[in-house]
Symmetry: C2
Amino acid sequence: MSDAPSITFRPIGVLRSPYRERIDAPHQGTVVEGTESGEPAEATLELAPWVDERALLDLDGFDRVWLIYVFHLSDGWKPTVKPPRGGPRRGVLSTRAPHRPNPIGLTAVELVAVEGRTLRLRAVDLLDGTPVLDVKPYVPWADAFPGARAGWVDALDEKTGRLYAPGPRKPRKKPPPFPAM
Amino acid sequence: MSDAPSITFRPIGVLRSPYRERIDAPHQGTVVEGTESGEPAEATLELAPWVDERALLDLDGFDRVWLIYVFHLSDGWKPTVKPPRGGPRRGVLSTRAPHRPNPIGLTAVELVAVEGRTLRLRAVDLLDGTPVLDVKPYVPWADAFPGARAGWVDALDEKTGRLYAPGPRKPRKKPPPFPAM
């Protein structure tokens, strides 16, 4: 088969979150044990100027929204990756790793409020500065399949516990505001 | 805020499906009443030559995968859209309409089999020729929130029945193979 043409997207906004560095962020927004606060993080997404605010109408009735975004710190990919929770290398498309053929991320976050051009969000595993390409409403009858088998992830969950926290084992220390003497 | 830079993606493959035209496809893959066959459609996704086949390793243990794809027939967007199931215009980002700021689609499809470089899929609401940007494993503890409120969609479901089928009301007739006399 031949390649399909490339396509260019313009971010609809940039996420503001408390996670400044990769090591600080949980690997999924629902897994926060081991992060600095131990609480689901709040974040905001303000629409870029080119997106009409009316695009957000009716969104406030949804508990969750999908964010489709760019893993903007990803710089290349390999066909297999070593998941942070352990085990052998896996095919990258059977993982949620950021280093993928197209560095696109997907997370269902809690929608706290819609305030004008800004979404207030919770349980976000995204880094500050993440470019967001799309927001979609979470619709359980299209999106929720709680009984779906999840291959190697299920196997690892059985072994280590479902919400074994990836990410840093100890709270990260902030650097001192001025050089230490 | 200032705009974030645009980003270009290269499709990892092109979907082959029985749905040739927009009017033929269900609006979600799980809703097939009113389509020509009344059965969930099968489709295939073959990896483009630039993607190493090992990227698919370990995927076969998953019941479902996310497809992130391009609504390639979309040609522009408006801040509000009229959903096909009825009711007033809604903010486009509170719908799953194809005509969005970035024409990106998201569907959780059944994974039937992985055969070399090809995924066999079921319950696909995508048109033949759809460029696919990413495949991700469906992981219930990250993706399944069966109790999430779904705003105007819930309200419409209560009114018309949850699986009221959008799409054509009557089976589509195939054109005759040769011009009728």
